[in-house]
Amino acid sequence: MLAVILLLVAAGTWGAVQQIDYQWRWNRVPQYFAYVAEEAQKTPFDGKVVAIVEKGENALVTVASEGSEKVELTVTDNTLKVSEGEDLFAGDTVGFSKSWRLGPLMFGLWTTLWLSAVSSVFGLFLGLITGLARVSKNFTLRGIAIIYVECIRGTPLLVQIFIAYFFLGTVFDLSRNVCGVGALALFAGAYVAEIVRAGIQSISKGQTEAARSLGMTKFQTMWDIVLPQAFKRILPPLSGQFISLIKDSSLVSVIAITDLTKSGKEIITSTFATFEIWIVVAAMYLLVTSILSQLVFYMERRLAVSD
């Protein structure tokens, strides 16, 4: 049944796409993951080719000047443009060296990954502190935590990013990366705080009482008894929050951080392969989030030993 539905959806999409005039150019996509860069190797001075040594696919060209200057250039064999004994002037191209380079999609993916990872770490830390403040008996701490959580949850992330960049970034002279990470971390922190609070409150009071009755301090009780149990319970919602964060990180492209989304947008302006690139970008997000959920699933099973 599932297969039939999926087939129908695929066929329907296929049919609809056929109706419009769109030229699919999938062959243009791979070069944005990785491509072969050709770099011209030029002699820096006037001189003579004194030796060409073959090394597999490459050739090592040695150029010597009339003085005693010497330079060795490595070029790909089939792009070799000189022969032994030839006279060269400064700036003449000896040949081209080829090497694999990562394309903008990979750089964008990398930016998205580190941006999400750094914001997650800060967000988790912030959320833990705020969550603890939220359940504390101290009125001031609790008040600050509530105001923070309500402000963040009540405003759109896009607006927060704009405020972080255009207002805070200007006032405190922050780079766009700091603003982007900061906005994402603050955003994630507020949601993590609520998850942490719910987790802590779900642990029965008896656990705290038992630990305190053994003479453990409040801090020891929280750290050794309550938090480990709460963490196990909040792992599924917490992982959901971090998966959201990876996806939400696409919004930082509005402040010109070249993440995966922004890279996609840039590639489209030069290729017009709109459909293909957005589909590929979506697939890359999906890949990252699936890997993360698998990881969490594995952790959950590991933690289930004491059940």
Partner: protein, 244 residues
């Protein structure tokens, strides 16, 4: 050893205040086993919880080994380390193995080395008869076994006093015996104990003194022999008629 003077605990309720513990005074000597009985809601558990500071009392003094709990300067954690507590719901730490349950507080509070704590833990598990379950998680144990682990966990701190808050009330009937046996053994070894329980047989056999509480007040105090055969107070007579 323990001296309670006119202890009052007031809970704010929906319809006025509830005087859960209402002017209780008593003294427990070293090595004495005191059993507190009474109908539910009589404040006996609340009184017991006041003794190790789980419940902050409103008025009065509780003096343990010369340290007054009502004094603001008292470090409650130090007092608690000397007062073991066993709960109705066991409250074992589910994410730690049985042995880790016993060693954690020893390492954190008593600052013992891991090796020393484990030796002590295994010795106590042997004493309560569940040595072979040391590396299991509490969820794999029966209720009676869990409660025995909880007793061992409290004993691992070398407490001067043990408090038992209805330790057998959450157990299946066939498991009550094994827990009571451990408690009887403790009493024989000279441990100072305060026990809130509904096990009249235990009270009769082990207690040096029985305190009968009702509506937050101590109604009658006496030896088990006196209390179970010829109680003076009407309320005590009525209670005994209902439970025996």
């Amino acid at each position: 050893m323990i001296k309670a003077e006119n202890v009052v605990k007031i809970f704010p309720g929906h319809s006025g205040v509830v005087r859960a513990v209402d002017g209780v005074s008593t003294e427990v000597a070293r090595g004495e086993v005191v059993v507190i009985i009474g109908p539910s809601g009589s404040g006996k558990s609340t009184f017991l919880r006041c003794i190790n500071g789980l419940e902050a009392f409103t008025e009065g003094h509780i003096i343990i080994d010369g340290v007054d709990l009502a004094d603001r300067k008292t470090n409650i954690n130090k007092v608690r380390a000397e007062v073991g507590m066993v709960f109705q719901q066991f409250n074992l730490f589910p994410h730690k193995t049985v042995l880790e349950n016993l060693t954690l507080a020893q390492c954190r509070v008593r600052k013992r080395s891991k090796k020393e704590a484990e030796e002590k833990g295994r010795m106590l598990l042997r004493k309560v008869g569940i040595h072979e379950k040391a590396d299991e998680y509490p969820s794999r144990l029966s209720g009676g076994q869990q409660q025995r682990v909880a007793i061992a966990r409290a004993l691992a701190m070398d407490p001067k006093i043990m408090l038992f808050d209805e330790p057998t009330s959450a157990l299946d009937p066939e498991m009550v015996g094994e827990v009571l046996d451990v408690m009887k053994q403790l009493a024989r070894e000279g441990m100072t104990m305060m026990v809130v329980t509904h096990e009249m047989g235990f009270a009769r056999e082990v207690a040096d003194r029985v305190i009968f509480m009702d509506e937050g007040k101590v109604v009658e105090v006496g030896t088990p022999e006196h209390f179970f055969t010829s109680p003076r107070e009407e309320r005590a007579k009525l209670f005994l008629k209902q439970v025996l």
